[in-house]
Subunit: 219 residues, 2 copies
DNA sequence: TTATAATGTTAGATTTATCTAACAAAATTG
DNA sequence: CAATTTTGTTAGATAAATCTAACATTATAA
């Protein structure tokens, strides 16, 4: 069984993996907020337990076993976030920290009960997919709002960033998943958008914000 | 902040403390399932952080700070057990293991929400009192069933032991907190009792079982 | 009340997860 | 393509939590 620390490395590796499934030591060190030698020694340990493939001076790659384990930890994290929001009344900006701890609990029935009580949700409160019990992730390809054009109508479906600050910004503008937005115009100079949605006419959204909003185009 | 390991020592110290608030190193070692030298070095660490008082060759005593910390961990444990039973549908025999992990989560709001959702319960599923937010415990003095006499009627209020095996035994006899029992007779030879309660006439309960059942006499 | 048993301590080793300093390889760029 | 920068590795140290072996103190009991 992976230690709590190892679980955090696996999860981070899964999230950082690029199209080739590779992660650099330096990226991992930055994300985990530890030094490169620490990562170096940890990837050797993880390799011994067949969680990943490592060769000197090469980026690391999770094995199938490693990927599955990581996905199951992410599953616990996202189920917890959804449970906290839907069953315990937390705001979407409050749940990450708690889920970060709850995800390490070893008690399959605990998470199965959450899942059941929520009716087997497929996404978490930030629109990210919840891996299934086999660790499979249903990948949905949303568009970032910044790729959309003036005149289009879209539904806010997910976020590419879920920092507390960003979530609080969205709260302040009354933007939540499911909100239907119509793009009035796109400013050529800075790519900011002006949009209209329930309760808000001509709300300006900076490019930075638009890049972090994932949408489904409906018109 | 106490580490998870330190939290476990504090909790165990609290539970083992006798009338003088003292705990022997050997008891603690046995309960924690570690060697005496491990305990010896840990109590020195705990003393440095003012969790307890330690003098060579003397039993250790929790400080006020240590007692409060321990009580607050026990509070998280018992709130969790109650939440698992009342809000998530677990059986009372399933919750200890999960609570043992959840009690170490640092997220005051998480436990406050549980507390709120349950209407601020004062006992856990096994009848043990839940310490309040200040770490104060309301001590209730129940009688063990074994101290009662033939002819008395009692209500099952709490347990002195909550092992899975004992809880499963109680389940098998349909005994739960709140059950009203009438003692038909007490066997002189082995102190076993014959009792009657809803759905059960003349159920025999061994002395071992009677000692573990805490009751309130009502007639 | 002394011998024995039980309890507690010290010393020193181990594992895990981390660090800094020094060095080596790979990538970038003038 | 050689110099420099970035990235990665090795060596060695540290702190936490554990162990065993050996020794010391306290308690018990003949």
């Amino acid at each position: 069984m992976a230690s709590q620390t190892e679980e955090n490395y696996l999860k981070t590796l899964f999230n950082l993996a690029n199209d080739k499934n590779e992660v650099n030591i330096s990226e991992l060190a930055a994300q985990m907020q530890v030094s490169m030698p620490t990562v170096n020694s940890m990837v050797k340990t993880l390799q011994k337990n067949d969680w990943l493939i490592y060769e000197k001076y090469k980026p690391v790659i999770l094995t199938q076993k490693g990927k599955k384990e990581a996905a199951l930890i992410i599953r616990k994290h996202r189920l917890t976030e959804m449970f906290l929001v839907n069953k315990m009344g937390f705001g979407w900006e409050e749940v990450h920290e708690i889920a970060e701890q709850v995800e390490h609990i070893h008690a399959p029935k605990f998470f199965e009960r959450m899942d059941e009580m929520m009716g087997f949700p497929t996404i978490d409160p930030h629109g990210s997919p919840i891996p299934d019990k086999q660790g499979r992730i249903q990948e949905i390809n949303y568009l970032t709002l910044s790729k959309c054009k003036a005149g289009q109508t879209v539904i806010l479906a997910a976020l590419t960033n879920s920092s507390t600050e960003f979530l609080e910004f969205l709260n302040s503008r009354e933007l939540s998943l499911g909100t239907e937005l119509t793009i009035n115009s796109v400013e050529n100079y800075d790519q900011s958008m002006v949009a209209t949605y329930v309760g808000h006419t001509s709300e300006t959204l900076s490019e930075k914000v638009c890049e972090r909003l994932l949408v489904r185009v409906i018109g």
